[in-house]
Subunit: 380 residues, 2 copies
């Protein structure tokens, strides 16, 4: 898909722009609107020509929304997040700048986040109640409306790549559990031992959640209809909220005008019963349609499924003529009214990007009109 040489170039760019990104700011509402300017990074002859014709690439990613507060973050950890988000952004945008397809850009960027322990996807996936890891992902091609989705994977290093293989190499859209892994073996995709997904941080998180559950079940039951919330409970809730999100995703517009979206997750920590959230559900966590937009969501999966979030944004654009920014905000507000928290990234076919969320923060980034990566974490 890309050469070692190009890989080095993008890593070099990422390092360079990791500095500039801290100096550049998006507008105060967190939305970035690509303008009709060629991107800054070097373009191939063909893509330069396309850019000159008014065509441009657009790219945005997220690394999960939740109770992400500056007060809980060390400068070191924040630097790590910013660097990894920048790397993923530049990787995907590099693919697009070299006239690559939107699906290639999505896959390349998400693989970087999946391979990092920082995010709740791939390597950094949270633990289930049983101490295992179960991963979900999906991808959709806005040109063909083809889609691939996988759920309840236990041995797949890069679920986003398996989702793409399901889309491209099978007649199916969704494969789950052991069956999906049999397909993965048939396709020769990289499988890993369950231990690959062990990270101390996530394992300790599971222990803390279980300890808290135990304390709560041991505590004498309150008889009042409305239990008083203690400081400890609040703090525990904040911790849980912070940890439960962390899904990663990407949306892309390539120089040929094709949209694509992808999402990958480890789900919620301490999950049981083969729970599947919105990430592998086409129309909920992921949707792409060249007529409207590409969307990847992150948050309380149950509320995002019930709200059919990603498709609802597309429908508001197609049937009501709303902008991607207006449509995305309406849908996030709807999710909030139902009681769900989270966020999403969306891009339309003109390259306009929006990244709304109703949580304290969302790890996110996009490429601005000058071809520069803008990485943000907190509310502006």
């Amino acid at each position: 898909m890309y050469t070692d040489k190009s890989r080095r170039k993008f890593l070099g760019n990422a390092a360079l722009i990791g500095i500039t990104s801290t100096m550049l700011k998006a507008n105060s509402s967190g939305e970035a609107f690509a303008q009709n300017k060629p991107p800054q990074v070097a373009l191939s002859a063909k893509s330069t020509e396309q850019a000159a014709q008014g065509k441009r690439a657009g790219f945005a990613i997220h690394g999960g929304a939740g109770t992400i507060l500056k007060s809980n973050m060390t400068p070191e950890l924040e630097r790590e997040y910013r660097a990894k988000l920048t790397e993923a952004l530049m990787k995907g945008y590099g693919v697009l700048s070299a006239n690559g397809g939107s699906l290639d850009a999505i896959e390349a960027a998400i693989r970087i986040m999946e391979d990092s322990p920082l995010f709740n996807a791939g390597k950094g996936a949270v633990f289930t109640s049983d101490g295992t890891n179960e991963l979900d992902a999906s991808i959709m091609d806005g040109r063909t409306l083809k889609a691939g989705a996988v759920a309840s994977l236990k041995h797949i290093k890069n679920p986003i790549s398996l989702a793409r293989l399901v889309m491209e190499k099978s007649p199916h859209v969704m494969l789950v559990s052991d069956g999906a892994e049999s397909f993965a073996k048939q396709q020769g995709i990289e499988l890993v031992a369950p231990e690959y997904f062990y990270t101390e941080k996530r394992f300790k998180e599971l222990q803390r959640i279980k300890e808290r559950e135990k304390q709560q079940s041991d505590a004498p039951k309150k008889t009042s209809s409305r239990a008083t919330t203690t400081d400890a409970q609040t703090s525990a809730q904040v911790f849980f909220d912070e940890e439960k999100h962390g899904t990663v995703g990407a949306v892309a517009l390539d120089l040929a005008g094709n949209l694509a979206a992808g999402t990958s997750t480890g789900g919620v920590p301490n999950k049981r019963f083969g729970r599947v959230g919105d990430s592998p559900i086409i129309g909920a966590g992921t949707y792409a349609n060249n007529q409207t937009c590409a969307v990847s969501a992150t948050g309380d999966g149950e509320y995002f499924i019930r709200s059919v979030v990603a498709h609802d944004i597309s429908a508001l654009m197609e049937y009501r003529g709303l902008s991607v920014k207006e449509a995305a905000q309406i849908v996030i507000d709807k999710v909030g009214k139902l009681g769900g928290t989270g966020g999403l990234i969306a891009i339309d076919r003109a390259g306009n990007i929006t990244q709304p969320f109703n949580t304290a923060g969302m790890y996110r980034g996009y490429i601005n009109a000058r071809g520069e990566p803008i990485v943000e974490i907190y509310k502006n």
Copy 2:
């Protein structure tokens, strides 16, 4: 949910109306428009009062769409289908007439079809390539937008009831595979041995499909880019088309004005790799929203997922102001343009019902404005 006495009454009604239903016809396009008349069957005092206030119940079911041709059907088998569809219709409508909730009506009717070997759901589920049965189902409450979905079940007699338990007794929307069955055990739902799902008809069907696959792979490869279709291939395709659909579903409007939808399936015969279709996907195979409509779909699951069929109908009604009939037809036409075949049933909050399909037939039924069950199989 209902007493033995009421059960006998509905079965009696079903037997009675099984005769009249053959005399009553829907309009030529297959749509039924409920009018503002009280249903014919006996109503409780409360529901009679509600009916007098202009409130009425609405109910429709399907038993799968596909290449269902009168020429391939025996009069005996057709009678069996009509009788079972009538029984399911009257069961669900009986719940509604007795002022029961739309979710109760959905569950009761779908359980009857799941317990019948005639449909590809529950007892009559098709076999996977491995000779097992994997069942999926989902249910959605239009009042709360709560939903429950289960996939890849191997030991659950009535997947629709497990989907409902997921919705009502868990914080989750979707549970899959072994985890979903652990939840089922915890909830005390009826589990059955895999042998329960053995039906000779479905097992022979699997053998025929495998035999055909073998013949096709043994046949010398054609070198022309477009292989000539032989009569045998056509006939095999018709057979496969006929057998691959058979999902069941129901949509309901209760006297309190609440919509609900549910869908249950065994998927496609000879399926592999833990394939999941649209039936358990909220927004694709099932969707309900009191603001718009309730929908249950059946057909080529992959195309229905990619088209986010059920939610798209709701969106066209909400954002474009279309009628349920117009919206459903547009969406079925979109699926057809992508290359997918199938059908769906939908009901709006005024009780208008539509049942479009782009296949030769669809097992379907609804309760007309006089409270009578109308059962149909072929195109009108």
